[in-house]
């Protein structure tokens, strides 16, 4: 399977591509964002290098000049061509607060977000969920099933731990498996459809 990195022919879009939509796949580092994208993408996931300027951590600041440091973060993305001219892009987006400008840029026009959670370290996802909620993007939560993940938590316990709204879908997935990743994405898209139906339903007085 050795292929030249410059083989770009497969990356060009099919002529039928008409509606390009995107979903953010987010979560803390190491939660399996790229794994999930890779499991369903028709192209090998690509990445862009994003440069962020941020105030540096507390350092000696003797002359009053506020240091800025530039952080580089790689954003992976993949793509699924669906029938009917739809191309769905999946952006693996870091969800830490310090990446907010990047988040806002990627989230612009997105359908919604799939938040991946590692049940071995649920607290690592608090930051991400805060950012998603503040951005107003509709989302679903998927627990990535790591082999050594504790299995004795009930759905209610996990919901309570994440302080999830009862209407927010929560599923378990294996990000390595295409079918499982598709199910997680479907849980999100169904949630978006339900929201749309609720929003357009005639108001009952």
């Amino acid at each position: 399977m050795a292929s030249a990195p410059s083989s770009t022919s497969r990356v060009h879009l099919p002529d039928t591509a008409r509606d390009l939509v995107k979903i953010l796949v987010t979560g803390p580092f190491g939660v399996g964002k790229t794994t999930l994208i890779d499991s369903v993408s028709e192209i090998r996931p690509l990445h862009t290098e994003e440069h962020l300027t941020e105030a540096s951590a507390q350092v000696d600041d003797l002359d009053g000049v506020r240091d800025k440091v530039t952080t580089t973060v790689a954003v992976d993305f993949g793509r699924i061509s669906l029938p009917d001219g739809i191309v769905l892009y999946l952006f693996g987006t870091p969800g830490q607060e310090r990446f907010r400008p990047l988040w806002d840029d990627i989230a612009y026009g997105a359908l919604g977000a799939l938040v991946l959670v590692d049940s071995r370290r649920v607290d690592a996802s608090f930051d991400v969920l805060g950012l998603v909620e503040e951005s107003g993007l509709p989302y679903a939560v998927a627990f990535n099933a790591f082999p050594d993940a504790p299995r004795h938590y009930t759905q209610d316990q996990l919901r309570a731990a994440l302080d999830l709204d009862p209407g927010t879908p929560m599923v378990t997935c294996d990000a390595r498996e295409a079918n499982s990743s598709l199910d997680a994405l479907l849980a999100l898209v169904q949630h978006l459809i339900d929201r749309q139906n609720t929003a357009t339903a005639p108001e009952s007085v």
Partner: protein, 119 residues
């Protein structure tokens, strides 16, 4: 449009965007489509501009795909592409045609498409 005497680029490659951070008018999204126009490539383009046109010779790409293939920041592609649009060398299209943007069945079509991929 015309080559300068000696043919040396006006700006070095490391200033791919000529130091411009934003294009004044054209705001490209990550998923904006970039298409090569029929206009022949003139002399005097920068290496970065030529590289982008080169990638698009084989077909359509989104801004973010062009950035990944050329290993340039998305912000640089936005500026490069906008410059080339100004010179009629590129055509861009929004990710979703305006008429389809709020099509109520779009989400359903996405769901149906994802379901069809399961095996």
């Amino acid at each position: 449009m015309t080559a300068r005497p000696g043919g040396r680029p006006l700006v070095p490659a490391y200033l791919a965007t000529g130091g411009t951070a934003r294009h004044p008018r054209l705001r490209l999204e990550r998923l904006s489509l970039l298409l090569r126009s029929d206009k022949p490539v003139p002399d005097g383009l920068t290496p970065a501009q030529l590289a982008l046109l080169d990638e698009l010779a084989d077909g359509t790409l989104t801004v973010v795909e062009a950035a990944a293939l050329l290993r340039l920041p998305v912000s640089a592609i936005r500026v490069l592409a906008a410059e080339l649009v100004d010179r009629d060398l590129l055509v861009t299209r929004a990710p979703i045609p305006p008429a389809e943007r709020f099509a109520p069945d779009l989400l359903k079509r996405v769901a149906d498409g994802l379901r069809a991929l399961k095996h």
